[in-house]
Symmetry: C2
Subunit: 434 residues, 2 copies
């Protein structure tokens, strides 16, 4: 009966059976020490008998092993326990030299990212890399738990759509049985329609942007959390839900999985249950005062302002999360609700200098929506929008929501420098493999 390396300390004195990968092998004072990796972690085994040591001759990291031995307390071992009197069985031999060393942290310097992804299939076996994606899986789980407990229904909207122009970015197009299909940039239209059914819906899925830019923020395939909720009293109700979601998820992930995060040297978040809210105008003025830079020409926040206001709020409000509210109408999409002639009922959720989500209220009034679509140059006769307009013509209540970047969240929770490091197999203008 196999036990995991993480269970070994409960078996001190027992003879146990482990299976895993040879992670490291070294000779020390006539003894062979090996690190065995399994899904529980890494455990050290001491191999004394020559006939056992010989079984590893010519075999490299990755070799799949079964070990039978005695669990023994060993204060000098990282987990306080070691495997002794080991009988070794090679399940899958690896005779190829390692491509990269995975028992040490891999470089995440910008120049090394291409190498990181080139050897991704192996590099992810490094404990630091794998923990990033363990955290990612945990975050997804906590997000879903929060949403279920708040009466949200999970939906799956189509990724092949007739028209994906609503997202604003460039669109991937393809031949669809003789028609032209687009890859969905977001479930925007579908989730709005679905609040007419369930009031509260969410989706976690891929979104596609033909981003021709190569930055630390952009990839062509992202994982988005899309949330939409109806019967809101005001825009603030949307912000409160998203604030509560992020606060709950970050608090829980640190409370329940702090060990993994500390193993990643992730910075513990500075947060309060209520995130500060600053209007765009306020941020421009505060930034101007602090940095002696004239921001009067800027409409949107610059990336530098996004970083600065998060630093400011951390010091001033004790929060690394900030809402930048009253976004300008220049950022308005046809489905947003205008607040006045200059601003939209929309806010960006910033965390540690990065925009994680845009959180608008939607225009739910049919006539007003049609006007805004037409002003945006969209034909209301376009068959791609027929179902969308149906839903409004037959009654949608006030609603709002957000598109929340899961990759960006992971990046910032772990403390990485580039969105790609938070994606298993990232896609950008130059990269379609692995």
């Amino acid at each position: 009966m196999r036990i995991l390396s993480s269970e070994l300390s409960r078996h001190i004195g027992d003879t146990v059976h482990l299976e895993g990968w040879l992670h490291k092998k070294r000779l020390l004072g006539g003894l062979t020490f090996i690190n065995l990796r399994d899904r529980g972690g890494i455990v050290q085994a001491v191999i004394k008998e020559k006939q056992e040591v010989d079984k590893l001759k010519g075999l490299h990291t990755g070799t799949v092993l079964a070990l039978d031995g005695k669990a023994q307390a060993e204060p000098r071992a990282p987990s306080g326990v070691e495997l002794h009197d080991v009988k070794l069985n090679v399940l899958v031999p690896v005779t190829s030299e390692p491509l990269i060393e995975i028992d040490k942290p891999l470089s995440h310097k910008p120049d090394n990212l291409d190498t990181l992804f080139e050897y991704r299939a192996i590099g992810l076996r490094n404990q630091f890399e794998s923990r990033i994606f363990l955290v990612r899986s945990i975050l997804l789980k906590l997000i879903r738990e929060f949403l279920y407990s708040h009466d949200f229904v999970e939906i799956n909207s189509p990724k092949l759509v007739a028209n994906a122009a609503e997202g604003g970015a460039e669109v991937f197009k393809l031949d669809y049985f003789g028609k032209t299909a687009s890859l969905a940039q977001s479930p925007q239209l579908y989730k709005q329609v679905m609040v007419g059914v369930f009031e509260r819906v969410f989706e976690i899925g891929p979104a596609f942007r033909a981003e021709p830019s190569a930055t630390t923020r952009h990839v062509s395939e992202v994982t988005m959390l899309d949330i939409e909720m109806a019967f809101i009293r005001d825009h603030e109700e949307v912000l409160t839900l998203i604030q509560d979601l992020l606060y709950s998820v970050l608090t829980k992930v640190w409370k329940e999985h702090g060990e993994i995060l500390r193993g990643l040297n992730a910075p513990e978040p500075v947060l309060k249950p209520k995130f500060p809210r600053y209007s765009m105008g306020q941020i421009h003025r505060l930034y101007e005062q602090a940095n002696n830079v004239d921001m009067s020409g800027e409409i949107d926040l610059t990336p530098d302002e996004e970083r600065w206001i998060c630093e400011y709020a951390k010091e001033h409000d004790g929060s690394e999360a900030v809402f930048a509210t009253d976004l300008p109408r220049s950022k308005m999409k046809f489905y947003h609700m205008a607040k006045d002639e200059n601003t939209v009922f929309s806010a960006d959720l910033l965390f540690r200098g990065l925009e994680l989500a845009t959180c608008p209220q939607r225009e739910h009034r049919y006539d007003q929506l049609v006007e805004q679509m037409q002003a945006a140059g969209i034909s209301t006769d376009d068959p791609a929008y027929a179902f969308y307009l149906q839903a409004f013509r037959h009654g949608l209540p006030p609603h709002g929501g957000c598109g929340f970047g899961i990759d960006r969240l992971v990046e910032k929770v772990v403390g990485l420098g580039n969105i790609k490091e938070a994606i298993l197999f990232p896609r950008d203008i130059n990269r379609l493999t692995p």
Copy 2:
């Protein structure tokens, strides 16, 4: 403070505030009865005062209303409670005539499916339709809970890939910044690589098949549950996990949400914890004996045999779920493990006459895999496979898993006749909207 219709029976005698959609309006003995729909369900309200009734003049189904009134026990009302002394407030008026009647079951006859999808945005507001997708959301939740509790890590693999040929079906292709990308048919290669990291991984996401056929089983975009697990002792361990997953999910959904399923007239499953296993050869022979049809020329199971063996197992074994084992090598993909010269370590999970999942063990030995790839006409120098071969060259343990059709599961759990009815916005050769 808003309460939901489902909470009304706890407030008998109280004055309450409800918000929702006008679902139905009728006059009876000088009174106006309306059904109000919200995410809790439907509640009946009795409107007496002329000035309140007048507010609804010219307004149709879908009108968004706020109702203040007194909750009153009423044995004749469907939920045993009604709203009386109603003050009515129109939040969003609907002046358009209904496109379809949503207070009655919508037709799911094959001839009517086009109409069903044409008015999908509205039709989903019907209680029968929405319950299908409530069940779907619950099934997804239960599947994830099972997998988390069995140490599986959730992954997100890319949907834009360099080569998606491994799936066997036709592939959608698109221009990717001057290169040709394919839409992933499955996370097959990625999930196998990821068992080298986490041992046990799963993904629930879209998969794309350029299916030129128009059947009740095929759509071009499906939601797949992909599972992969390593350090298996044998193929049987894979089947056991998938069996336990389905048994656990079906048992729980009926135990915890039986009311919703009964509201859908869903048939209660006939299952035992251990699903019967019949080899393909056995199924051919049993079918031949029972039906006097010569099956000696058939390699694969015919759809009729799939239906028949499920009926047979239901009667004979008390199980509507069956594993058809020892699939023929004609169905073998390059990444499957051969059992002998005729058969593969693979089994189809059939439920109520439909294949829900194919559950093979994988070929984990590098040299053998390379041989099988070459035999399948795949160049091992193809850069699209470089990362995949890396993982095997550097050690993957015995592993297996399945691709499990979520849409098919929903179809069969609810008791629908066509996979499209289980998808919010289905895609097929003729349909790219809504």
